[in-house]
Structures are given as structure tokens and as C-alpha cells.
Homo-oligomer: 193 residues x 2
């Protein structure tokens, strides 16, 4: 019989991020994460395949939401604006996770293995967004280019949101606002001559 | 005393690409590459640090050329066109390497370790191009966004050039032309509403 542990996933995630930040990712064990969360290792493995998945389980959800958002965007929207609408909608789901996202970013940036995983995640995301655009009738290479540009907008906005560039320390700018700004900036720099 | 081996680097590269294609990257040793090229292992290690570097030494050169191209682009060019001018200029250096590039792409695509390395290479390239744009007075996030978009243009054009999407089997389109097309397409899909 499985004991009911209120918000076990959230407690495990917070414990993991704390420990990765304090000791480093490589030096942290699943046993330590479970102990910090006041849960058993068995409970950990009911929620996550391994200690890396704590940092990446959100990526799959994010991808599903963004694809859905592109599929649901009004048919008249140009490709980049269909992505923009989807990114903004998803931003709303992330706003309250800013502190967790900031901790996560520090850990990923400090660990080459995790940085590689992050790049793979973003490449997969780009491929999925391109697929969703093709589903809207956007031909390649346009679909791939718009998807890559959309991922760039998200990545840049996300980094500004978590304050990686030194701004937004107190979260005064929402992710949705930063996505709108980044998209406008992208349009400006790609307008060319 | 070092024996003079005419075009040892080129012979080693071709031998490595042949063997990676025939046996798989993981199953090929440096000894086999040297033997196929009719050279010694010692000669191999005078040219490459390991068997992976055969596939990635060009990336460093490419990055240096592209950064230089952005620095040298006319000051009046908008960011994305400064990148476009640099990409086109560099394309000229690559045109005759199409067959090698095609072999390389097949091997990298088939090997997860190499795909990861490729993603890291592209991320580094993007960071370098953003730095070159900042050197032209382009502020962030515009510099980062234009650089990411420029790398996307290059990647998409390169994949079409080597025929990964099934087209350009006989190399009838030059890389320079495909870069111009991709850049035009990027401008079109990011124009938005």
C-alpha cells in the first residue's frame, strides 16, 4: 500500500534544488534528497527516474503545452506570432515558479553534463515546434526557422526573467512581458535592410 | 625528425570519415584510421587530439571566420544582414567540401555523443556571433537574438546543402545560395503581423 505524502513531488524537487545548490549536483545522492524532504528513497523513485529528472521533468510538460498552444492559435496568425501567442500563454503557468527556475538555472549552468542535457532539450523543443507549425501548413524551411527563432525568444526571455543577466532581481518583470519584449526585439533585428 | 607527409591531415580526415561510415564511429580506432591513410598513429596525433576532433576541428575555424566576417561587415548593415554577409562569405570557403560535409553529417546524426557535441558547438558559435555583434554596438537582447537566428539560418541552409532533407542530391544549389534563401525565409517568417 502506498502512503499518501502531501505534495511529495514538490518537496522532493525543492530538497533536490537546495542540495544541488549547497553541495553541487554531482555530490548529491537520491538518499540525501529523500532525507531532506522527509520522505523515503522509494517515494523519490515513484516520482522521478533519477536525480537528473528532477531538473528536466518540466521540459516535457513545457513542450506539450507549447505544441498545444501553437495548434490552438488562430489560423490567421503568422508563424512567429502563433509561437509568440503560445509562449505567452505558457508563461502564465510558469510565473509562480520563478524562484525554483532561478535555482535550477544556476545548477544547470554550473554542470557541463546538465548544460548538454539542456541543449538537447531545447533542440527537441525546436523540432516539436517546427512540427506543430507544419501542422498549420507552414512549409519548410520556414517552419524550422520560425521554430528556432521562437526557441531563441523563449530562451533569452527566460534568462532575463531569472535574472541571469543581472536584471530582474526582484522579479518585477513577468515572463510574459519579457517574451513580448524579446519577440518585438527579434522582429526588429531580423527585419534587416 | 618529422617526415614530410603530403596532405596528411586531409588523408587522415578522409580515412576517418570512411571508417566511421563503414563501421560506426564507436567501433573505429585511431590505429585503423592511420593505417587506412597509410600513416602512423604518431602522425595522427600530430594533427588531431583524438578521433572526435577529426569531426570538429573545422568548427573552430568556422567560428573564427564568421566572427571576422561580422567585424568586417559594413557598419551600416543591420545586425541580421551583417551575419548574412559573413555567412555568405564563409560559404565560399566550404563549397568544395560538400562531400566531406555530407559524410560527416551522416556520422554525427547517427551518434548521440557527437550530436551533443554538435549542439555545444552551435551554442558556442551563437555566443561568439553575439559577442561580435555587441562589438558593432548592438545591444542585448538584440545581439543574442540575431546571433541565434543567424545560426538557425546557417544550420538550415547547411542541412539542405548536404541533402539531409532529400533535396540537393547532386549539389546543384550552392551553400551561398541556400544561405541567401534561408535568410530571406527567416525574414519572412519573423515579419509577423
Amino acid at each position: 500500500m502506498t502512503r499518501w505524502e502531501p505534495n511529495a513531488r514538490g518537496r522532493l524537487e525543492l530538497a533536490a534544488l537546495e542540495l544541488y545548490g549547497e553541495r553541487g549536483y554531482d555530490q548529491t545522492t537520491v538518499a540525501e534528497i529523500a532525507k531532506r524532504a522527509g520522505l523515503t528513497e522509494r517515494t523519490f523513485f515513484r516520482h522521478f527516474a533519477d536525480k537528473r529528472e528532477v531538473l528536466f521533468y518540466g521540459a516535457g510538460m513545457l513542450q506539450d503545452w507549447l505544441v498545444k498552444g501553437i495548434e490552438d492559435a488562430p489560423a490567421a496568425l503568422p508563424p512567429i506570432d502563433a509561437i509568440g501567442a503560445s509562449l505567452e500563454a505558457v508563461a502564465g503557468q510558469l510565473e509562480e515558479r520563478r524562484e525554483m527556475a532561478t535555482r535550477r538555472m544556476v545548477i544547470v549552468t554550473a554542470t557541463p553534463e546538465l548544460q548538454e542535457r539542456e541543449l538537447i532539450k531545447l533542440a527537441n523543443l525546436s523540432a516539436a515546434l517546427a512540427g506543430a507549425l507544419r501542422g498549420r501548413g507552414v512549409a519548410d524551411p520556414g517552419a524550422s526557422l520560425a521554430a528556432e527563432a521562437g526557441v531563441a525568444v523563449f530562451r533569452v526571455a527566460f534568462q532575463r526573467w531569472v535574472g541571469k543577466d543581472g536584471g530582474n532581481r526582484n522579479g518585477e518583470q513577468t515572463l510574459a512581458q519579457l517574451i513580448r519584449d524579446s519577440l518585438a526585439e527579434l522582429k526588429s533585428v531580423t527585419a534587416g535592410k
